[in-house]
C-alpha cells in the first residue's frame, strides 16, 4: 500500500470506531429509556433470564468446580513449601471471590449467552421480524432488546456468585478431603481474611458491571448486524471477542479502583 493511502485508511478506521462507539452509547440511552416494558411485563425478562442464566448453569457450575480444584492443587504445592498450607482456604477464596469468579464467569457468559443473544437478534433482523414489529407499532428496542439486556444484567451476578461458591467447594474437596489440610484452619482462616464489604461486595459489583457490558455488547451487535447470513455470523464473533477484551480491560480498571493500597 502506498504511503498516501495509509493515513486515510488509519483515519477512516479511527473515525468509524468513534462513530460506532457514539452509536452504541445512543443505542444504550434509547434502550434505557424504553426499558419500562422489561419490568412492567416482567415475564419477558424472566424468559430471558431462563435463556441466559438457567441454561448457562451447567457450564458455570462445572467450570467453577474445576477452577477451584486446580487452584487448591497448585496453591497447596506452593504453600506447603513455606509451611503455611492452612492458608489454602484464604488463597482459594480470595482469588475466586475477587477476580476469577467475576472474570471467568463473565467470559463464559459472553461466549455461552452473549453470542446466542446476538445471533437471535441478528437473525430477527435478517428475517425482517424487527421491521415487521415496527409495522405493527411495536417498538423492537422495547420488546426485543430491553428484556434481553436486563435478563443478562440480573443473571450475571448470580452466575458469578455460583461460580465462586462452587469453586470454593471444589477447593475444599481437593484441599481438605483429598490432600488433608486441617478443616478448621481452612474455614476459619478464610473467614478471618475475607471481608464482606471489601471482597465479596466488590466482587458482586464487578460481576454486575461485566453483566451490563456483555449484555449491552451482545444486544448492540445483534441490532447493528448486517442482515445477511454472513453479517450475523460476523456479529456473533465480534460479540465474543469484544466482550472478552472489554471484560479483561474493565477488570483491570475496577481492580485498580477497588483494591489499591489495602
Amino acid at each position: 500500500m502506498p504511503l498516501a493511502d495509509l493515513f486515510p485508511a488509519i483515519g477512516r478506521r479511527v473515525n468509524n470506531g468513534i462513530w460506532r462507539l457514539g452509536y452504541a452509547a445512543r443505542f444504550f440511552l434509547t434502550m434505557l429509556g424504553r426499558s419500562g416494558i422489561a419490568f412492567s411485563r416482567f415475564s419477558l425478562t424472566v424468559k430471558e433470564i431462563y435463556f441466559t442464566g438457567v441454561l448457562s448453569l451447567i457450564v458455570i457450575v462445572v467450570s467453577g468446580l474445576f477452577v477451584g480444584m486446580v487452584l487448591a492443587l497448585q496453591g497447596y504445592n506452593t504453600l506447603q513449601r513455606y509451611g503455611s498450607s492452612e492458608a489454602l482456604g484464604v488463597l482459594v477464596a480470595l482469588s475466586l471471590v475477587r477476580e476469577l469468579g467475576p472474570v471467568v464467569s463473565g467470559l463464559l457468559f459472553a461466549s455461552r449467552a452473549g453470542s446466542a443473544v446476538t445471533a437471535e437478534i441478528g437473525l430477527m433482523k435478517a428475517t425482517e421480524q424487527l421491521s415487521a414489529m415496527e409495522m405493527m407499532a411495536v417498538n423492537p428496542i422495547a420488546r426485543v432488546v430491553a428484556p434481553r439486556f436486563w435478563g443478562g444484567v440480573i443473571a450475571m451476578p448470580l452466575l458469578a456468585a455460583l461460580f465462586s461458591a462452587t469453586g470454593i467447594l471444589g477447593g475444599y474437596l481437593i484441599g481438605v478431603v483429598l490432600i488433608g489440610v486441617d478443616e478448621g484452619a481452612f474455614w476459619s482462616q478464610m473467614q478471618s481474611m475475607v471481608d464482606f464489604r471489601e471482597d465479596i461486595v466488590n466482587g458482586v459489583i464487578k460481576s454486575l458491571v461485566f453483566g451490563a457490558l456483555v449484555s449491552l455488547i451482545a444486544v448492540f451487535e445483534g441490532y447493528d448486524a448486517v442482515p445477511t447470513a454472513e453479517g450475523v455470523s460476523n456479529a456473533t464473533t465480534r460479540t465474543v471477542v469484544t466482550s472478552s477484551l472489554v471484560i479483561l480491560f474493565a477488570d483491570f480498571i475496577l481492580t485498580a479502583l477497588m483494591f489499591r493500597g489495602s
Binding site: 431462563y50 455460583l162 465462586s164 474455614w187 473467614q191 471481608d195
Partner: protein
C-alpha cells in the same frame, strides 16, 4: 416451554444464586458470628504501630475481644492514637497493658491486652495509659549491631 416450568426454573436459578451469595457472606466472609455485642471505645497511644491495620484483632489471652476501629497520628504528642472497639461483655481494669504483637513469625499484627489488678474498670472513652509499641525488626537488628560493636571496642 410452558410458562409455569419456565418460572419454576428461573425460580430455582435465582434461589441458587442467592444461596451462593449467602454462603459467600456467612461461611466464606466475616459477616456471621464475628460482630461485637454493644461495643465500647477505648483509645491507646503508641510510639509505633508497625503494620497494624484498621479492623485488626484485639485479643486478650488469645481470645478476640474487639477490633481496631481507627488509627490516626496525634500531632500534639507525635504518637499514633489507636481507637479500639471492645465487646461490651468484657471489662478491663484501669491498669491494663496494651501491646502490639505479631501472630506467628511473619503474620499480621494485633493488639494484646494484659489485664492488671486495679479494682476500677476502664469505661467507654478512656485511654489505656500503659502501652508497648510494635517490634520493628530493623531497630532490633541495629541494637544488636551496636551492642556487638561496643563489646568489640571494650578490650
Amino acid at each position: 416451554m410452558s410458562r409455569t416450568t419456565l418460572d419454576a426454573w428461573v425460580g430455582v436459578f435465582v434461589t441458587m444464586g442467592v444461596v451462593a451469595l449467602v454462603f459467600l457472606a456467612l461461611k466464606v466472609g466475616n459477616l456471621g458470628g464475628s460482630t461485637l455485642s454493644n461495643p465500647y471505645k477505648l483509645t491507646a497511644e503508641f510510639d509505633n504501630v508497625g503494620t497494624l491495620k484498621v479492623r485488626g484483632a484485639v485479643k486478650s489471652s488469645g481470645v478476640v475481644v474487639g477490633r481496631v476501629s481507627d488509627i490516626e497520628f496525634d500531632p500534639k504528642t507525635y504518637m499514633a492514637r489507636v481507637t479500639l472497639s471492645i465487646d461490651g461483655r468484657y471489662k478491663f481494669p484501669k491498669d491494663t497493658f496494651a501491646k502490639i504483637l505479631t501472630s506467628g513469625l511473619l503474620g499480621e499484627q494485633y493488639i494484646g491486652l494484659s489485664p492488671g489488678g486495679d479494682e476500677q474498670m476502664l469505661a467507654s472513652g478512656d485511654t489505656i495509659a500503659r502501652t508497648q509499641s510494635a517490634v520493628v525488626i530493623e531497630e532490633l537488628i541495629s541494637q544488636f549491631m551496636f551492642n556487638k560493636a561496643s563489646e568489640g571496642a571494650k578490650p
